[in-house]
Amino acid sequence: MMERYSRQMLFSPIGEKGQRVIQQKHVLIVGAGALGSANADMLARAGVGRLTIVDRDYVDWTNLQRQQLYSEEDADNRWPKAVAAKRRLASVNHDVHVEALVMDAQDESFASLFEQQIDLIIDGTDNFETRFLLNDLAQKYRIPWIYGACVGSYGLSFTIIPEQTPCFRCVMNHLPSYHLTCDNVGIISPAVQMVAAYQTTEALKILVGDVRAIRRSLVIFDVWQNEHRFLQVHKLKNEHCPSCGTDRIYPALRSERAKTSVLCGRDTVQIRHTHPFHITNMMEQMKANGQQVHGNEYLLMTQLEGHRVVLFADGRMLVHGTKDATFARSLYQKYFS
């Protein structure tokens, strides 16, 4: 049924032809937090054929202030974000095939997604490590991707087209230090929506092939301070860039992925297990031992030594209320190794 897209087809750069093209495309959305949520909603409503949504987290009450796909019921039941996103999107547009993957993009299996055709990647991540990884995968498989990030009332976005624009590493040649990027200065939802509006617009341009319209500048804004600028980036294209230069080595694909990471601005440590957890079995066992445990088929949540701990079926463990990786690893070894 095309009628539901009538207002989008009346927009001449898309038209009926563009709409048919959009319906054949496959978009990968990495991260289903605030930006991932807003982009996924717009792209599903726009009728994109296939969306693959990758997220490692579950819905929390503090997400509801800005993550538009989620409801209180999702937070109550701690649904993984990818799963909750898929459910809402199904009610919004059943034409769209949504694949929900509860996994960390740092996981080895993430790279195997690229064996299929992916037309575009939307950045909905919350950390630089994953963006450098996405950047190398995008360069390697020649897939356009759209960087977006926001904090407070400030946001930025930039469209990366392999072989044409500078890549993410050209623009941001250093991995910023933790304290600069993960300060928790809060966020207001309009900053999210503005970045997502830029990302989805670029996505639609790329999907319909309107190459001339693609924005070649990096946009930054502060919506509270009434600032908005487009900055030219072409000078930053670096022919010696290890990700997009002539002698590229894709450094992020070669580096050993850390088994333990402190989640950005979250007061949480994540440990990646070597094999999956049997969530249902473990829940029964814990309950039999008289332990307080909540969860669903994707994850379980319990208290260990005063810390909220979450185990995911894909083999990850989150320890909340700490940034101490050594302590988190010791908890993990004591109870689960």
């Binding site: 991932g36 963006r131 990030a149 600028r229 900055l231 000078k235």
Partner: protein, 77 residues
């Protein structure tokens, strides 16, 4: 006079919207050093710097009259 516009947490950290250097010219590298020395900004190598709305590399030169934007990369999403 070189105007340097501040954004996001840099603005909050310094408590102002812009700073001014009374120089005829300096390289972007020198600008970074002065920001570290005089304004106690750390790790300015991870700040992106644009001159007159165009991103610049460390060897580029900023002249009096130019407007510099100091762009902190952020990771939130």
């Amino acid at each position: 006079m070189i105007r340097v516009l501040l954004f996001a947490y840099i603005k909050e950290r310094l408590g102002k919207e812009e700073i001014v250097f009374n120089e005829q010219q300096m390289t972007v590298r020198q600008l970074r050093e002065r920001l570290e020395q005089e304004y106690h900004l750390q790790a300015t190598s991870s700040l992106m710097i644009a001159i007159n709305e165009e991103f610049a590399t460390d060897d580029d030169i900023v002249y009096a009259g130019d407007v510099v934007a100091l762009i902190p990369p952020v990771s939130g999403g």
